[in-house]
Amino acid sequence: MSLDGKVPSGSLAEKWTRYRGTMNLVAPNNKRRIEVIVVGTGLAGASAAATLGELGYKVKCFTFHDSPRRAHSIAAQGGINAAKNYQNDGDSVYRLFYDTIKGGDYRSREANVHRLAEVSRNIIDQAVAQGVPFAREYGGLLANRSFGGVQVSRTFYARGQTGQQLLLGAYQSLSRQISLGNVEMYNRHEMMDVVMIDGKARGIIARNLLTGELQRHAGHCVVLATGGYGNVFYLSTNAMMSNTTAAWRATRKGAYMANPCFTQIHPTCIPQSGDYQSKLTLMSESLRNDGRVWVPRSKEDAKAIQEGRKTANDIPDADRYYYLEERYPAFGNLVPRDVASRAAKVACDDGLGVAPTGLAVYLDFASAIERYGKSAANSKGIHNPDAAMITKLGEAVVEEKYGNLFEMYEKITGENPYKMPMKIYPAVHYTMGGLWVDYNLETNIPGLFAIGECNFSDHGANRLGASALMQGLADGYFVLPYTIGQFLSHEIRTPMFDSNTAEFEAAEKAVQERLEGFMNVKGSQSVESFHRRLGKIMWEYCGMARNAEGLQKARTMIKELREEFYKDVFVPGGMNDYNPELEKAHRVADFIELGELMVVDALDRNESCGGHFREEYKTEEGEALRDDANYTYVSAWEYTGWDTDPVLHKEELTFENVELKTRSYK
C-alpha cells in the first residue's frame, strides 16, 4: 500500500504559508474544552506543551524524569541552525532546505524540510526573547559558527551548552503555563501504552514510577515527543534512560515505524575504554571547525602508538595522514557526519587507529592554536612573538571557544587536549528513523502525533549537525500547534473523555500483566546483561557498515536473545515502589523488538544512503551508492507481531525542486 504524506499543493516556497492561512482553526471557547496529552518534555515536548497551553488547550504533560528540565535535549552541545543570513555569506531559506535535503542523501520529504528551514528563523527570535544567552559579537549582535556539511555560517550557539540553554527556555515557558493552570504536569510518570477508541488515539496508560500505580489518562489526542532509540545499541551518546518504549508501544498499536535502520553515527566521541562502560560521550562537531583529523600514515607508527611506545607528538607532520582533508578537499574536516564516521572506520580497519584498542583517530588543535595565537599577538600589537607566547595566546582563544568541552574531555580521559591531540571514535548519536508522520506530524493513527526525534520526518538518511535542536523546536513551537488543529477542529463536539471505558480497562490490564510477566520470570541474568548483548549485535551487524549476510545472522541472534530474555531475565525488587530495574526491563524488551525491525529494514534497503551503508553497494572509491530508481521511498513498517514478518508500506518521495545527485563533498 502506498502512503499519502498529505503535502499541500502550491509551490514549495508558498506551501506552508498558504496552508497555514487556510487550515481549520479551533475557537478559543472550544480550545478550553479540548484535552491534549503530551508525552515527553525535551525540546519538542516542552515547547509543544507550553505553546498549546498558551493557545488555550487543556494540556496534560508527562515525563519519566524527576523534572521536565532533565530531558536529553539538555546535552546537545554545538548549536542550532537557522537561515538568518546574519553573516551575509549567501545563506537563505532555500539554501538551508537544499543542504538538509542533500545532507539527508535525498531520502526526506521536500515540503517538510522547506517548512523547517522557513520556521528556523522564528526559533532564534523566540529563544532570544525567552532569555537564551546565545553567543554574541562585540557589537552585541548574535554570533555564528560553521557546522559539517555546509559552506555557510548559520549555527547559533551558547558556548558548548546550546541544548541546555534552549531546553531551559522551553522548560521555563512550560513552567509558566503550569503556574497558570493551562498545563497539568506529571513528573516521574512513564507512558506504558496508547489507548485507542474507535480507531483514534484517545489516551495513555501511565505508570507512577515512585508508587508503581497504573493510571488512565484520557484526552482528545496524544502527542508523542519521546525522543530517539539510539540506546538500542546499548552504548550511545544518549542518556541512560532514553528509550523507545512510547514509540514502540504506539507501533504495536498500529502506528507505522519509518526508516528504522537510519541511525546516525557521530564521528567525534570519546572512545570506549572498557567493558564496564555505560555510555559514550560526544565531543561536539563544532570542534571540527578547528580540529584536524588524522592518523599515522604507516601501520608501524600506529602500532607503536597503540602499544604506548610513541605518542601523537612523536609523529612528524609529513608522516601524518589528514585523511578528510586529502580525500574531501572541498569540505575537509567539515564533511557530514556519516562521511566522517565511515572514513574513521576505514582508517581503523586499515590498522591505523591510535588507542590501545586500535579504535580511535586524532582530533588535533595544534594548528588552530598556532593560527589563533599569531592573530591574537597581532591584534595585541605584539611583534615577533616567540612560540611559547603564540601557544599561550592561542590556547586562550581555543579555551574561550571550546573550554567546557576540553575540560570534559580531560575529566573523562585524564589527558590534556591542549597539549596532546584528542582521541575520538564514532558512536551512535541520533536516529533519523522514527514514527511515520504526514505533513501535519500526525501518524497513520488519527489523533496520534509524533514530534522531534521521535518522528522520521526531516533528516532523511543522515542529519546535519545543529539540525536536531532546530527540528525539535520547529515542531513544538511553530508546526504542531497549527497542524494539530486540522484534527482537533473536527473534535469540538466530542465531550471530554471518561477513562472508565472498556478500552482503558483492557489497556491497563495488559500493562499490568506485562509487568507481572517480567517480575515472574525470576531467571538468573540481569536486564543490563541482555541490553549489552543486544547492543553488541546491533553495533556489529547493523552499525556503521552492514551486509545482507550479517543482517540475516543478526535477525536470528535477536530472536534467540528475545527468547532467552523471557525465560531467564531477573528483575529484583517489587512492582509497587521505585524500581529502576523493572523500568529497564520493559524498555529493553521493547528495544529487542525494535532491533529486529531495524535489521529487517536494513535488509530491505538494497542501497547505501546516508548513515545506512550496505557494503554490497558502494562506488569504486568506497562512497555510498544510492539506488534512486528503486529506493526513493520512505519505508513505513506495520508491525504484525513477533512471529510474523512486518508489512512494508511505501511513501514514494517526489523531488520537484531539487535534482537527485550523487552527494559529493570532494
Binding site: 515547547s47 505553546t51 498558551e54 524524569h65 524527576d66 523534572s67 521536565p68 528540565r69 532533565r70 536529553h72 539538555i74 546535552a75 532564534i124 527570535d125 523566540q126 529563544a127 532570544v128 526573547a129 525567552q130 532569555g131 544567552p133 546565545f134 553567543a135 554574541r136 559579537e137 552585541g140 549582535l141 558556548r159 551548552q161 541546555q164 540553554q165 521555563q172 515557558s173 513552567s175 509558566r176 503550569i178 503556574s179 513528573n187 542518556a239 541512560m240 572498557g274 564496564y276 562502560q277 555505560s278 555510555k279 560521550t281 560526544l282 575540560e407 570534559m408 575529566k411 573523562i412 585524564g414 511553530f478 500547534p481 540481569s526 543490563e528 531477573f570 529484583p572 521505585y578 529502576p580
Partner: protein
C-alpha cells in the same frame, strides 16, 4: 583497585535507613557511577536489591545525579558532577562513604534518591520571561553587550542538581534561586519583570522549607558548575528594592 563502600540504604520515605558496607573491585578509568553499576550488577547476581541512585546523561549536564561522597556533594573534585568524577581520584584500599542529600526540602524516597520537585515549583513561581510563542521580535533587534551576555550565561549554567542546598548548613536554596533570577535579570528581555520575579521566587523558596542564607558560601564551593555567590548579592538587591515598593501579587 579494591574499595570499601559505606552506602546509605533506605527502603522508603518512612524507613529510618542505615549504612551498609560493601566491597567492590573497580578500575581507575571508570566513572564513579560505573563503579556503582558494577556493585549493583553484583547485588543483582546475588538476588539482592540494587542501590537506588538517580542519574541520566552521565555527561554532567542534566543535573539528575548528586550523591554526597565522603561528606561532599558530588565528591572531592571541584566543578565536577558525580557522574563526571572518575575513579582515578581514588586509590586501592580506600573507604568511601556515600549518602543522599539531606534536608527537609529534599526528602529521601529510596536509598540515595531524593525528591527535588521543590526546585520546579520555584521556577513555576516566576523563573521565566513572560513571552508567548510568536511574540518575539528579531533576535538581533536588541544588541546585548558581549560581557553582559557572558555574565547571564554564567548564571544560566546552573543544572538544578541541588548540591548547593546539600552543601549549605541551613539547607538554603539561595544559590539556585539567585542563579535563575540573575540570568534573567541581566538580560534586557528579562529585566522588565525582574522585581516581581525575585519576590515570587523567594516567596516560593520560603514556602518549600529551605533555610535562610547566612553567607557561608559552601554552596559556591560545592557547585559543580561553579556558580558564583555574587548572584545571591544581586538577588538580595532585587528583592530589597522590590519589597520597598507595593507588594506584587504573587501566585
Amino acid at each position: 583497585m579494591k574499595l570499601t563502600l559505606k552506602i546509605w540504604r533506605q527502603k522508603s520515605p518512612k524507613d529510618k535507613g542505615r549504612f551498609e558496607t560493601y566491597q567492590v573491585e573497580a578500575n581507575p578509568h571508570m566513572s564513579f557511577l560505573e563503579m556503582l553499576d558494577v556493585l549493583n550488577e553484583e547485588l543483582i547476581s546475588k538476588k539482592e536489591e540494587p542501590v537506588a541512585f538517580e542519574h541520566d546523561c552521565r555527561e554532567g549536564i542534566c543535573g539528575t545525579c548528586g550523591l554526597v561522597i565522603d561528606g561532599q556533594p558530588h565528591g572531592p573534585s571541584q566543578g565536577t558532577t558525580t557522574c563526571q568524577l572518575h575513579m582515578r581520584h581514588y586509590k586501592d584500599g580506600d573507604t568511601i562513604v556515600i549518602e543522599p542529600y539531606r534536608g527537609s526540602a529534599f526528602p529521601v524516597f529510596k536509598d540515595l534518591a531524593v525528591d527535588r520537585s521543590a526546585f520546579d515549583r520555584i521556577i513555576q513561581a516566576g523563573g521565566y520571561i513572560s513571552v508567548n510563542t510568536g511574540q518575539a521580535q528579531d533576535g538581533n533587534a536588541i544588541p546585548i553587550e558581549k560581557e553582559q551576555s557572558a555574565r547571564a550565561f554564567d548564571a544560566a549554567a546552573c543544572i538544578g542538581c541541588g548540591a548547593c542546598v546539600a552543601a549549605c548548613p541551613n539547607a538554603s536554596a539561595m544559590l539556585f534561586v539567585s542563579a535563575k533570577a540573575s540570568h534573567l535579570a541581566l538580560l534586557p528581555q528579562g529585566e522588565v519583570e525582574s522585581k516581581r520575579r525575585a519576590q515570587a521566587m523567594v516567596k516560593q523558596m520560603d514556602l518549600e522549607g529551605f533555610g535562610m542564607c547566612s553567607n557561608v558560601t559552601a554552596c559556591e564551593a560545592e557547585c559543580p558548575k561553579e556558580i558564583s555567590v555574587e548572584n545571591i548579592a544581586r538577588l538580595n538587591r532585587e528583592f530589597l528594592s522590590s519589597t520597598l515598593g507595593t507588594e506584587v501579587k504573587v501566585g
